[in-house]
């Protein structure tokens, strides 16, 4: 059996497969279909200081091999999360990453501080990249602001801080590097791409809001490249997230430079998708004679001169 344990900065995981924020509820929703405890980590849906009602429906619409969503960060808020969601998340027995979102630097500081005191939280993931609320991309689309909010959060908590970057920028590297300077433990690459779907007859968006965030297989090649770019140009470990539906997809991310991966939208079509990716990963590595999954991380080779890469 191939060794699957990985380290993401200070965070040690039993395996590289994590559940992505906003696609796994707070774990209990998936429990009827699979054992969330088998995963390397569970990332809960974004938590804000105060409860949020989110956007009006329709909130999702399918596009070719993709999904546009405009949930708008509906969540029960920090206090109810601590009371109602965290105990069950902890009980699964694997790493718990709490994804947090705020409107001001102080919000992230308060959230990071409180969660650092809570028992059973292994890391924070800062959502600087939600395209579905006004100003949701504020911190994630100005490297100076990214650095400021990450530094303030790192100072406010004992927990490792993972920064979830947006792909909706011309060049992602300044954001990864700003996170590194500010003391982040890793970057998650990436959140969703802003997109649209509309019905020309009614001249209406298919979502209640004009735009949404695109996820699923449609974005995989784009995010794979972002992960590779971050691995090349920044010293932080990278968590790859975008369009992973199979073990092959996940292994491609590792070769591109991800130390771990998150499975998101695939869970909607198959609630056991994370577990299936994990099982397939072990099998494929065994078949390929790879002893340790870490051998793959960042192992992309240059194409030999004068030959097609295939």
């Amino acid at each position: 059996m191939a060794l699957l344990a990985v380290r993401v900065g200070p965070l040690d995981l039993a395996n590289p497969v994590m559940a992505a924020s906003g696609t796994f509820g707070y774990g209990t929703e998936l429990a009827p279909f699979m054992d969330p405890g088998r995963l390397g980590a569970i990332v809960g849906k974004s938590i804000s200081l105060e409860p949020r009602e989110g956007n009006p429906p329709p909130r999702t619409v399918e596009t070719p091999a993709g999904l546009l969503n405009s949930i708008g960060l509906q969540n029960p808020g920090l206090e109810r999360f601590l009371e109602e969601k965290l105990p069950a998340l902890r009980a699964f027995g694997t790493r718990v990453v709490v994804n947090i979102v705020g409107e001001r630097v102080e919000d992230y500081v308060s959230l990071a501080g409180r969660l650092g005191e809570a028992e059973g939280v292994d890391a924070l993931e800062l959502n600087l990249s939600c395209p579905n609320v006004d100003r949701g991309l504020l911190f994630g689309s100005d490297p100076a602001l990214t650095e400021e909010v990450v530094r303030a959060s790192v100072v406010a908590t004992r927990l490792p801080v993972i920064v979830k970057l947006t792909p909706n920028v011309t060049d992602i590297l300044p954001y990864a590097r700003a996170s590194e300077r500010a003391g982040a433990a890793a970057v998650s690459v990436a959140n969703t791409y802003v997109g649209m779907a509309l019905d020309w007859r009614s001249r209406r968006s298919r979502l209640a809001r004009p735009t949404g965030g695109l996820s699923g297989p449609a974005i995989k090649p784009l995010v794979l490249r972002l992960v590779w770019q971050c691995r090349q140009g920044c010293g932080l470990p990278v968590i790859g997230v975008g369009g992973i539906a199979t073990a092959e997809d996940a292994l491609e991310y590792l070769v591109a430079g991800a130390s771990a991966v998150q499975v998101g939208t695939a869970t909607f079509a198959d609630p056991a998708a994370c577990a299936r990716v994990l099982e397939g990963m072990g099998r494929l590595l065994d078949e390929a004679g790879v002893r340790d999954v870490n051998e793959l991380v960042g192992s992309l080779r240059a194409a030999p001169a004068g030959r097609s890469p295939n």
């Binding site: 906003g22 696609t23 796994f24 509820g25 209990t28 929703e29 998936l30 429990a31 009827p32 279909f33 849906k45 009602e53 989110g54 009006p56 429906p57 329709p58 909130r59 999702t60 619409v61 399918e62 070719p64 091999a65 993709g66 999904l67 969503n69 949930i71 509906q74 699923g216 297989p217 539906a245 939208t265 869970t267 909607f268 079509a269 198959d270 609630p271 056991a272």
Partner: protein, 283 residues
């Protein structure tokens, strides 16, 4: 606590085998599936998330929700019927299945209709394909006691050939009334006009179950609220997962425990809602 599935039937991701795909009216189909491994007959009003593609394909990406139209426990599993029309890529794929093909089903999911205690006139209101959950509900209502409550099914459709399951409801012992937009069957006009007649207090206490297009359901909710008649409606919001993970399919409803309206995931809290939670709310 997460509440998924019909009481007593744990939800699961199961392969169903196509027994038949029968045309229903001019536009719709009735898909009959044999689902080995399903733990029992789902309750009326619950749904399955149906994978409308080959498993290895990545498009159409997410599953499509369909109400359980009918279900029969058989020796090695359950036979499940779905009623649908082709409106897009997923339903087109479903309509191209042949006997013996496999279709993956996730469920049963959601909360079922919860008819009140016996002794009421049961009025079922179905608009178009909203008829889907009612064969099982009507059979359940009629089969409940030795002397079952009277059931009236009000069917609304655009035209006669789109009036679905009328004979089936009659065979189950229900009285059926029809309204069509063009008057080619039953009365001309909206099915909610028939409901107004049925809500006449002189006819005795009633309970209403409804499913159909949202404008119709809004009218049903309002009429029942005015008449003070208990009512449950089954809502069809666009869903991605169907089991509470995506927060996509929300409905603004008053919490069952009271208080101001909140976005409620209709795959967990619904699809069937007590109309009292929706009355007066912009849901």
């Amino acid at each position: 606590m997460t509440l998924v599935g019909a009481p007593g039937v744990p939800p699961a991701d199961l392969p169903g085998r196509v027994l038949a795909l029968d045309p229903l009216g001019s536009e719709a189909f009735r898909l009959r599936l044999h689902v080995p491994g399903l733990g029992g007959e789902p309750a009326p009003g619950v749904f399955f998330q149906v994978l409308c593609r080959e498993e290895e394909a990545r498009d159409p990406l997410v599953r499509r929700p369909f109400s359980v139209a009918d279900a029969r426990a058989v020796r090695d599993g359950v036979e499940v019927d779905l009623i649908f029309a082709v409106v897009g890529r997923g339903t087109a794929w479903l309509a191209s299945r042949r006997t013996g093909d496999t279709v993956r089903l996730l469920g049963p999911l959601g909360r079922p209709f919860a008819p009140g205690p016996g002794g009421l006139r049961r009025v079922v209101v179905a608009g178009g394909l909203g008829v889907a959950p009612f064969p099982l509900l009507v059979r359940t209502l009629r089969g409940r006691q030795a002397s079952p409550d009277p059931v009236t099914v009000l069917l609304g459709a655009r035209t006669a050939r789109r009036v679905l399951c009328a004979r089936e409801f009659e065979a189950a012992g229900a009285r059926v009334r029809v309204a069509t937009d063009d008057g080619t069957a039953g009365t001309r006009g909206q099915v909610t006009a028939l409901l107004e007649e049925e809500l006449d207090p002189g006819l005795g206490p009633a309970e209403v179950h409804a499913c159909g297009p949202e404008p119709m359901l809004r009218r049903v909710v309002d009429l029942c609220a005015e008449a003070g008649v208990a009512c449950q409606v089954s809502l069809e919001r666009v869903m991605a997962c169907g089991f509470g993970a995506c927060y996509g399919c929300v409905v603004r409803a008053r919490p069952a425990s009271g208080g101001p309206p909140r976005h409620d995931r209709s795959c967990l809290g619904g699809p069937v809602y007590d109309a009292a939670r929706l009355a007066g709310v912009e849901w």
